[in-house]
């Protein structure tokens, strides 16, 4: 199969937060306009659009693009739980690679405020959900097991929230902009033990957008295009019996394939946006990405390796814990952050000299799977 390179030439997002008075379409069109302006692209240059959302209902992409007259082009709406817009991005990459599309738009959007708060609603047809499984409980059991097997302490776990809230305080697009101390994290109200409230990503609303094009066309839009070095999607495997809940098999498999596609490894990463829906997730993914030796993620974080000045800055945006996690918007927003980092546009939270970045969005709480979907992108300048 002959393929061509793909570049990111435009990104935009709205600050994540709570916008109960805004419709989904009105959340998203400002992010789309920002991405088009960032690319210097005229609306008529966009020849396909891919919209990721988990709880948006029918035809989210058309509802959004109808607001701004960007209609008549092929629009695909993608639902893949927390990976929705990351999976949408992958579809756009495939379309551009193949030559089917020259300039494609990706949108990620979600409005969680419509649920009025609480844990996100899961699929009621699912056996374990019927019995009472909730996302915080699922991640809490991973945490309990990791603590049991590797001696991780409650303080080491809570330190993830302290780091990411410190990062988020530097990000004007973050939902939670106040730094917190370890004591504040541990003293916040219990959610699912060992998690306290500040160890869980906040519910909120948000939208992000990305403009992609064939690399041969990229300099028509910008002189600093970012290359998509890998775009990979994996689905979980159904296992009716025992599984190791401290090893996210879907992420281990997906990142291995993404490294192969990009021709690089964990030692090459400068900056990572990963799926820290709960504190334990970030630590488990350090292991899964090969950033540290398995079981040592707590010490690795404590060493300072994953904050500014460290060997690989993880979640400079504040991650899901601080930037927020409007489910379907997350994958696209991670790409917005990495592109800004690679261009040197990240302001106070700039990772010095960042050349290689990775995004990771995974999720879905359904029985028999560790997660339903995982999408990883490697971006380079």
């Amino acid at each position: 199969m002959s393929t061509r390179g793909v570049s990111v030439v435009g990104v935009g997002m709205i600050p994540f937060g709570k916008y109960p008075e805004r419709s989904l379409a009105d959340l998203a069109w400002p992010a789309v306009k920002a991405a088009l302006a960032d690319a210097g692209a005229a609306p008529k240059e966009i020849d396909a659009a891919y919209c990721g959302a988990a709880f948006a209902g029918m035809l989210a992409g058309q509802r959004i693009l109808g607001r701004i007259g960007l209609t008549g082009i092929p629009v695909v709406n993608v639902e893949n739980a927390c990976s929705s817009s990351a999976a949408a991005l992958r579809e756009a990459v495939l379309a551009v690679r193949s030559g089917e599309s020259d300039v494609a738009l990706v949108i990620g959007v979600e409005k969680l405020s419509k649920f009025g708060g609480g844990t996100i609603p899961l699929e009621e047809e699912d056996w374990e959900v019927r019995q009472g499984l909730l996302m915080p409980a699922l991640y809490a059991m991973r945490a309990q097991r990791y603590m049991h097997e590797h001696g991780l302490t409650r303080e080491q776990l809570a330190a993830v929230a302290v780091k990411n809230r410190k990062h988020g305080a530097l990000n004007p697009d973050a939902q939670m902009r106040k730094p917190v101390t370890l004591d504040e994290v541990l003293a916040s109200r219990p959610v699912a033990e060992p998690f306290t409230l500040l160890q869980c990503c906040p519910a909120g609303d948000g939208a992000a957008a990305v403009v992609l094009c064939a690399s041969t066309l990229a300099r028509r839009f910008r002189r600093d295009p970012i290359t998509v070095a890998a775009s990979h999607l994996a689905s979980g495997k159904f296992v009716p019996g025992f599984r190791d809940m401290t090893t996210p098999e879907i992420t281990v498999r997906c990142v291995k394939e993404a490294y192969e596609e990009a021709g690089l490894g964990p030692q090459d990463l400068d900056v990572v946006e990963l799926h820290d829906a709960f504190t334990i997730a970030e630590l488990i993914y350090y292991d899964a990405f090969g950033l540290c030796e398995r079981g040592t993620a707590g010490e690795y974080l404590a060493s300072g390796a994953t904050t500014f000045g460290g060997e690989v800055v993880v979640n400079p945006s504040g991650g899901l814990l601080a930037k927020g996690h409007p489910v379907g918007a997350t994958g696209a927003a991670q790409v917005v952050e990495i592109v800004r980092q690679l261009r040197g546009e990240a302001g106070e939270r700039q990772v010095d000299g960042a050349k290689v970045g990775l995004t990771h969005a995974t999720g879905g709480g359904i029985a028999g799977f560790d997660h339903g979907a995982c999408a990883i992108h490697v971006l380079t300048r």
Partner: protein
């Protein structure tokens, strides 16, 4: 044989059972869980499904699950829908036949603890209707 779609209806006793046909009375009158076993590839599942999730075979029979198991992981939950009384304890229980199942736990058993099947009220709907299911209870050491 009961299918998943049969589960969860209101019973004559004015309760909602989340276990449906998967929870029955054993010969001794105690609680018994019935799952599935694929006659082609021997994969066991709980609950039972009409098709084998490993080999697609539809020759799936019933199989009684062991009544005792070991806690793989557990957590005490303080949030969630109104149906669940806060806090409540849930976990994954590993059975000797290779099945892992998710259940409400009783007696706060830690990882590695032996637990035994029982039947209990696990929640209450907003109109007061009790919600019941199978639970696993810590076995006295």
């Amino acid at each position: 044989m009961r299918r998943e779609s049969d589960l969860g209806g209101a019973l004559a006793g004015g309760e909602i059972s989340l276990a449906g046909g998967a929870l029955r009375s054993g010969a001794d009158g105690g609680a018994m869980l019935v799952g599935g076993r694929c006659h082609a590839c021997d994969t066991r599942t709980f609950p039972a499904y009409a098709v084998c999730p490993r080999c697609m075979g539809e020759d799936v029979g019933e199989e009684a699950m062991p009544r005792r198991g070991v806690v793989y992981a557990a957590t005490t939950v303080h949030v969630g829908p109104q149906r669940w009384p806060k806090p409540f304890v849930v976990g994954y229980v590993d059975l000797a036949n290779g099945v892992r199942l998710f259940a409400h736990l009783r007696g706060d058993p830690p990882i590695g603890a032996e637990v035994e099947l029982d039947h209990d009220v696990v929640g209450r709907d907003p109109d007061g209707t009790p919600v019941t299911s199978f639970v696993f209870r810590a076995v006295a050491a």
